[in-house]
Symmetry: C2
Subunit: 593 residues, 2 copies
C-alpha cells in the first residue's frame, strides 16, 4: 500500500529531463515485448510516457512487468533517457524520451475492460454508459470534460469581472405552475407535503432583482421530468443571468461579451460584434425557423407578390387565406431524378405538407407538372425572384403561414445536408432572434399561452394591441442561436402590477390562481420591483457545440439515458418500504387506488 509518489506526470518529461531520476504513476495503456525488452505506454490525464524494462537493468522489475496488463495501475522509478534514433514518436510531446525502469510497484490490478480505452471505439452506448468510469478514460471524453471545466471558468470570470454576483438559489422549492413536469420530493418532516426541484430558478432570480442584487448569475442544475426524447436529460445545466435597470440592449451587450470570450478562448476566433439580429418574422420568412442555421445561405423567398393575381388555385387559395407561398432555390439540382423528387415530397408530406411543387430551370423556361397553370409573366417573375439559373431546381410550398414556413425550413436543412453545405470547418454562426410573439394560440384548448413565460414583457409599443388583438403583440423576448441551435433565451420582464394583471387576464389565469401559483413573487413585486430582464443558457448544448459533438451526453460526466436511467448506478431504483413509510407515501398498485 505504500507507494512512491510521482515526481512528474505522464505528459511532462522532455529532452531537458534526460538523465534525471523520476517516478511516474499511471495506467498501463499499451504493452509490447520486443525480444525480451518490455515497452509500456504509461498513461494519465496529462499524457503518455514510454517506460522500458530491460532484464539487465533490473531483473526483478522486468520479471514483475511481465505480469502487467492493460489498465493496471503502477508506480515506476527510473532514469529518463533519449530514445534511440528511429524509435522516437513525434506525435506526442514526450515522444523523444523514455524512462528506463529500475523499480516497479503494482498499485492495483485491473480486470480486462469490456471495451478498449481509445477513441472511435465501436461499442454500444449502453455499454459505454454502464462502464462510464472506463468510457471517461478515453482521450475524447477527457478533452470534453476539460473543455467543460474551461467553459465554467470563462463564464464565471466574465460575470465576476462585470460586477455580477453569483447566488445559489434553492433546489428544494415550491412546485411551480408547470407542475406537471416537476420532479417532486416528499417531505419526511411534513406529512403529505412535497418540495419540487426547479425547472429553472426563474422566480428566485426575479426575487433577487427585487432584493436589489442588480446583476445576478449562476451556473445551476435544473430539472424537468419530460417524456422520452433523444437528446434531453432529466437534469441539465443552465447559465442563469438577470439584470436590473436594463433594456434588451444591455442584456445583448453582456451576452455578446461572454460569447466573444468563448470564441477567443475556446476556438481562438475573434467574434465580430454586435451580432446579427433577425426578428422572429424575418427568421421564419427567410429560414423557416426561429433558430436559423446561417452557416449556409439557401434563403427562402416569399413569393406572394409574384402570384398575387395568379389563377393557379393552390396559390390563389393560400393568398386568399392570408397564407404564404414560399420558394427555395436548390442550385444545380435541376437534374434530380423523379425518384429523388419523390423522396423529398415524402419528406415534406411527413411534416404535414399537402405536397411539394418543384420546377426544373431549363434554358428555355421551367419544366414542371404545374408549369401549365402559371402565366409566362409569373414564371419569369418567379425566376427573377429566386435568381434561378439554368440547371437549378425550384421548390415551392404554400399554405398557412407558420406551418408552411416551418416545413420549408426543414426542407432547407435537408437540402443543405444533401448539398453538403455544412463543412467541418464552416465558420460558426451566431445571431439574435428577437420580437417573438408574446402569445401562442392553442387550437385545442381555444386559449392563449405565453410563448416564453407569463412574466415576459410585451413590446411597449404593442401594449394597446393586447386588448384588441393579442396574437399580434410582440414580446421583448430574444433567443441566441448558434449554428441552428437555440443556446440561450430570455426576456425583459413585466415589473408593473397593472400590466401583469392584464397579462394574466389574457392567459385566462384568475386572480386567485395567480395568487396560488405565483403568490410570493407577486407579493415581492409590491415592495418596489425594479425594471429587469435576463437570459438563460443551455450549458450542456453550448458545451456540445464547442466540443464538436452531436449529443449532450458526450459532454456530461454522468449522463442518463433517453429514458432517464443511469446505467452505471442503476437509478432510479426500488427502495425499502421502511423508507417510504418514513416519507408517508406508498406506491400505488393501480391508477384507481
Amino acid at each position: 500500500m505504500y507507494f512512491k509518489e510521482r515526481t512528474h506526470t505522464c505528459g511532462e518529461l522532455r529532452e531537458s529531463n534526460i538523465g534525471e531520476k523520476v517516478i511516474l504513476n499511471g495506467w498501463v495503456d499499451r504493452n509490447r515485448d520486443l525480444g525480451g525488452v518490455l515497452f509500456i505506454d504509461l498513461r494519465d490525464r496529462y499524457g503518455i510516457t514510454q517506460v522500458v524494462f530491460e532484464p539487465h537493468i533490473n531483473a526483478e522489475a522486468h520479471q514483475a512487468a511481465k505480469n502487467l496488463r492493460n489498465e493496471f495501475v503502477i508506480s515506476v522509478e527510473g532514469y529518463v533517457r533519449k530514445r534511440p534514433a528511429e524509435t522516437e514518436n513525434p506525435e506526442i510531446p514526450t515522444g523523444y524520451v523514455d524512462v528506463m525502469v529500475e523499480k516497479l510497484t503494482i498499485l492495483n490490478e485491473a480486470t480486462t475492460p469490456p471495451f478498449q480505452i481509445k477513441d472511435d471505439i465501436d461499442t454500444h452506448e449502453e455499454i459505454r454508459l454502464k462502464y462510464r468510469y472506463l468510457d471517461l478514460r478515453r482521450p475524447k471524453l477527457q478533452r470534453n470534460i476539460v473543455l467543460r471545466h474551461k467553459m465554467y471558468q470563462i463564464t464565471r470570470k466574465y460575470f465576476d469581472e462585470n460586477n455580477f454576483i453569483e447566488i445559489e438559489t434553492p433546489v428544494l422549492m415550491k412546485s411551480t405552475p408547470e407542475g406537471a413536469r416537476d420532479f417532486l420530493v416528499p417531505s419526511r418532516l411534513h406529512k403529505g407535503k412535497f418540495y419540487a426541484l426547479p425547472q429553472s430558478p426563474q422566480t428566485y432570480k426575479q426575487i433577487l432583482m427585487v432584493a436589489g442584487f442588480d446583476r445576478y448569475f449562476q451556473i445551476v442544475k435544473c430539472f424537468r421530468d419530460e417524456d422520452l426524447r433523444a437528446d434531453r436529460q432529466p437534469e441539465f445545466t443552465q447559465i442563469d443571468v438577470e439584470m436590473s435597470f436594463v433594456d434588451q440592449k444591455d442584456i445583448f451587450n453582456i451576452v455578446e461579451g461572454l460569447m466573444k470570450d468563448f470564441f477567443k478562448e475556446i476556438l481562438n476566433k475573434d467574434l465580430q460584434l454586435p451580432l446579427p439580429r433577425l426578428t422572429f418574422n424575418e427568421a421564419m420568412e427567410s429560414y423557416g425557423s426561429d433558430k436559423p442555421d446561417l452557416r449556409f445561405d439557401l434563403k427562402m423567398v416569399n413569393l406572394n407578390s409574384v402570384f398575387q393575381k395568379t389563377e393557379f388555385k393552390v396559390f390563389h387559395d393560400a393568398i386568399e387565406n392570408s397564407g404564404v407561398i414560399s420558394g427555395l432555390l436548390a442550385p444545380g439540382c435541376g437534374d434530380y431524378t423523379r425518384n429523388q423528387l419523390d423522396v423529398l415530397t415524402d419528406f415534406v408530406k411527413k411534416l404535414g405538407a399537402g405536397g411539394l411543387i418543384w420546377m426544373r430551370v431549363k434554358e428555355d423556361g421551367l419544366e414542371a407538372p404545374v408549369a401549365k397553370f402559371l402565366s409566362s409573366e409569373e414564371k419569369q417573375n418567379l425566376i427573377n425572384a429566386l435568381s434561378a439559373k439554368n440547371g437549378d431546381l425550384i421548390f415551392i410550398l404554400s399554405g398557412s403561414k407558420l406551418k408552411t414556413l416551418n416545413i420549408m425550413g426543414a426542407l432547407r436543412l435537408e437540402m443543405a445536408r444533401r448539398l453538403d453545405l455544412i463543412k467541418a470547418d464552416s465558420e460558426p454562426k451566431l445571431l439574435w432572434v428577437t420580437d417573438f410573439p408574446l402569445f401562442e394560440w392553442d387550437e385545442q384548448t381555444k386559449r392563449f399561452y405565453a410563448m416564453h413565460h407569463p412574466f415576459t414583457s410585451p413590446r411597449l409599443e404593442d401594449i394597446e394591441l393586447m386588448d384588441k388583438d393579442p396574437a399580434l403583440v410582440k414580446a421583448r423576448a430574444y433567443d441566441l442561436v448558434l449554428n441552428g441551435n437555440e443556446i440561450a433565451g430570455g426576456s425583459i420582464r413585466i415589473h408593473n402590477a397593472e400590466l401583469q394583471a392584464k397579462m394574466f387576464k389574457i392567459l385566462g389565469i384568475s386572480e386567485e390562481e395567480a395568487k396560488t401559483k405565483f403568490g410570493f413573487l407577486m407579493n415581492a413585486f409590491k415592495y418596489g420591483a425594479p425594471p429587469h430582464g435576463g437570459i438563460a443558457f443551455g450549458f450542456d448544448r453550448l458545451a456540445m457545440i464547442f466540443a464538436g459533438e452531436n449529443s449532450i451526453r458526450e459532454v456530461i460526466a454522468f449522463p442518463k439515458t433517453a429514458s432517464a436511467i443511469s446505467l452505471m448506478d442503476d437509478s432510479p431504483s426500488s427502495v425499502t418500504d421502511d423508507q417510504l413509510l418514513e416519507l408517508h407515501i406508498k406506491v400505488r398498485k393501480s391508477a384507481h387506488e
Copy 2:
C-alpha cells in the same frame, strides 16, 4: 414603462463628477423635507447618493417627489453639485456631492415594508425569512452574499490554477447506504422506482479518480433529510475535492494553499503555513474536543500520573477502569461563589458528569470539599501540574475517557465565555486534527461503525491491528478546524480490494450487502483504481465564520427554517392528486396503510 437608464450607480459619484449631468436609478432609502427642499437618499447595492428636489429648479419633479415613500423605485436625472459646507457626510464615499434633480420618473411604487431596511433591526427571524426579498436589501445581508460570491471565485480560481478539473456530479442518483436520511424523488417514467438526492458526491468523486481525472473539485449542493437541528439546512453547499496518487500531506498542502488565499483575500491576513496539527488523542486530552477552539489557551491537563497512587476512591476508580482524570485551571476564579460553582456543577451534570470537583487555590494550599482526601504531595503535584497560582480555581473531572474529556471540553468553552477570552478581534485559529479512530463502537447494536465512511483507509501501520483490536486502529482521516468549527473533513481512501473486504467484514457488511449498496463503486474498483483521497468543506459554515455571523442562515440567500420550511415560498406544500397519480404514489392515511 419607458425609463431613463442610469449613467452611474448610487455608489459612484465623487467630487470629480461635479457639474456632470447624470441619471441614477434606485430605491428611496430615506426621505426628508427641509423647509420645502426635499432630500432623498437613493440606494442601490453599490451605495447611497443624496438627491435633492428644489421647487425653483423643477417644480413638476419637486411636486411629484412629495409622493415618494421609502422603497419606491425611481429614476432621476440631474446635475452633480458639491454639497454645501457643513452638510457633507464623510461616512460614505459619495458624501461630498449630491444630485440636483431636474426630472423624476417613478419606476415602481412600494407598499410599506413590514420592517425597516436597515441593519440590527429587532424583527423576528420568521418575518425576515417570509419577506426575504426585503431582508436581503439590508446592508449586512448584501455584504454577506457578496462575500459568499467572492469565496466562490477564490475557490474556483485556486483549484483551476492548481490543475483541478471542475466536474458536475448527478443530483438524481441512487439511494445510498445512509438511505434513511436520503431525500427521495419518485420516477414518473419508471413506476415504483426512486432517485435519491446526494448526501455528498462521495461515490462519484471516487469514480472520477478511477476514470483518471486525477484532481477533481466542485462546489456542490448536498441534501440530508435530518431531524430538526438549530443550524442545519436540508440543502447545503460543499467544496468537494478528490486527488489521485497522493498521500495525506498532498491533500494538506492543497487545502492549506486555499486557506491562505481565503485569509489573504477576505481577512487581509497572512496565514502561516504549515498549519498546526493535533492528533485526535492530543486534541481530546488538551481541549476535550475533536474540533478545538485555539483562539484561547485554557488547556486541560491529564492528571492520571498525579493521582497514580491516590487513596481517593473516585480518582482511584477512574485509573483502575482505564479512565481519565482531567484538570482545568480557571485563572483568577478562586473567588467564585458557591452559587456560581453550583451552576457550573449543574452544567457538567447535564452533560452526563457525576459531579464537578473544584478547588480554590489559596496562599496556604487548596481549599475544597475533597481536599481532605488528598495527600499533601498530591496537592502539591496538582498545583504544579496546572501551574496554579493563588486566586485561581481548579476543576477536575474523572471517569471514562472520551466522555469525561468531552464534558471537560464543554466546561473549557463555558469558562472561556465567562472569562470573555474570545474577543471580536481574536486571531482566527486554524488547525488539522488527524489520526481519528477508524471505528466507533456502538453499545446499543454491539457493533463497529465507520467513524468517517467505509472507504476510509486505516493507517498503514495499523492494518494488522484490524483483526486484533479494531478499536485501536487509527484512520488516515483528518478534519480542518477553524475557531472551534469543523470546516472540512476527509480521508485517504481504500483502493485495495482485499483491504476493503476486511473493512466490510469488521463493519458487519456482508458481501451481498456490499454489492447492493456499493456495487457500482466496487465494480469500478476492479478496473484499476489509483491510490486516492480527498476532502469536503462545509461552505455555508466557512462563509458564516468569515462573515462573522453566528448562523448559516445569514449567509444563504434563501434558507429554510430549522424545520425545513421555506417561509417565503411556503414549501414544502400540498400538490394535486393528479401530480401524485402521474408519479404512481399516494400519501398514506396512516402508518398501517
